[in-house]
Amino acid sequence: MTALRDVAVVGAGAAGLHAAEALRRAGYDGRLALIGAEDEPPYDRPPLSKHLLGGEWQPDRLALRGPQALEELRLDLRLGVPAERLDRRERTVRLADGHRVRCDAVIVATGVRPRRLPGADGPVPGAHVLRTLGDALALREELRAGTRLLVVGGGLLGAEAAATAVGLGAEVTWLASAAVPQAAVLGTETAALLAGLHREHGVRIHRGTAAALLRRHGRAAGVRLTDGSELAADTVLMAIGSEPATEWLADSGVPLDDGVVCDAYCAAGPGVWAAGDAASWPDPSTGRHHRLEQRTNATEQAVHAARNLLAGPDGVRQAYQPVPYLWTDQYGLRVQAFGRPGDADRFEVVDGSLADHRFAAVCGRAGLVTGAVGIASARALRHLRAQVAAHSAWPSEAS
């Protein structure tokens, strides 16, 4: 890797920024391009559905680094211009404005884009997704007392948006196909606790699956469900998952299958690495490829990809084996989880109690500890993290 003079990091979100920082911290001194489709310097997305949507924070609070810290990275920073094509033979990334950026190595950190309902392929007034700062500001604009908001999708994003919107006085209906929204992520027990809170705060949870957006006079008017029934609304938020933003790699030879297909070292072929929401890599415990759309993963995977890139094919590379972490804020409670509580079939509270909204619980499956989840019990949860990391035998030592 003596010839490494140009590195391009494509995607200027959290993963892209952390990849660039990790390269510099590890001593990489060559040219370093950071290419982003959005106009803003790297910013944090988790607050979009919380403080930003709620109006408590203004956009400048989301900046991940100040101007000086960015300056010190000595970046060829290209914002507001998406990458269009990777040519590995020429070693260039072609940008939408026609420029070509040289790259001996590239880190793909282009993330995901939200899925949309049929009928909402193009922009429809009143129909929203929530991924970018622009998305969040556009949705915030429509939320006021009495707005009938329909949130489609039973994941964390939908839950946070519903909680924030009801706090702003909106009349919120939350459409989810699962019996208990968020259970697939947090586990049934915690998800049921949160569903109860949503109802207490006035959110109407409706079980069903959206088939298409309804429009009236060119504006979103609700959704039609797969059973043929309809839900009316003034504003519709589509929080129905996302897809890797990798079409710019379509004819590059980089393996794609629900994201950039990486090996255990975040590498996807000679000169190509990937990190963050768009990166798919083999889970060491199952061997199956998977992606993690989690904020902490963006950081940790980016650091790994950068270090492995610099180590080169003959250097000491480190397999990426994170302990997944996620958190969500709803109604003043912060839920934290390690591992995969949503996949578990064992659940045992080891500290506090669900009724008190203060607990730490260990989760297991197939004889192993596979996750931990809790509220307001950070210390106990951190101890459980070690068991999750070690894939300890169930029953857990703590229980």
Partner: protein, 65 residues
């Protein structure tokens, strides 16, 4: 080195405590970061830089003094 934390930005991941337990702790009730040592000794600087680098909420900033 001067360490600053932003408790409002902190997401409670606890990565900083894992990286530099002598410098960071977490409040038990919400996992929010607590700064134990704003001017850590030189031998901890690497660990503190690691903590700042892996913080998912960019809640730790470092200043050279």
């Amino acid at each position: 080195m001067l360490v600053r934390i932003d408790q409002e930005k902190c997401c409670g991941a606890g990565h900083c405590v894992l990286a530099a337990p002598d410098v960071f702790d977490q409040r038990d009730e919400d996992g929010i970061v607590v700064l134990l040592d704003a001017e850590p000794p030189a031998e901890l600087h690497q660990a503190v830089q690691d903590a700042a680098a892996v913080c998912p909420a960019a809640a730790i900033s470092l200043e050279r003094v």
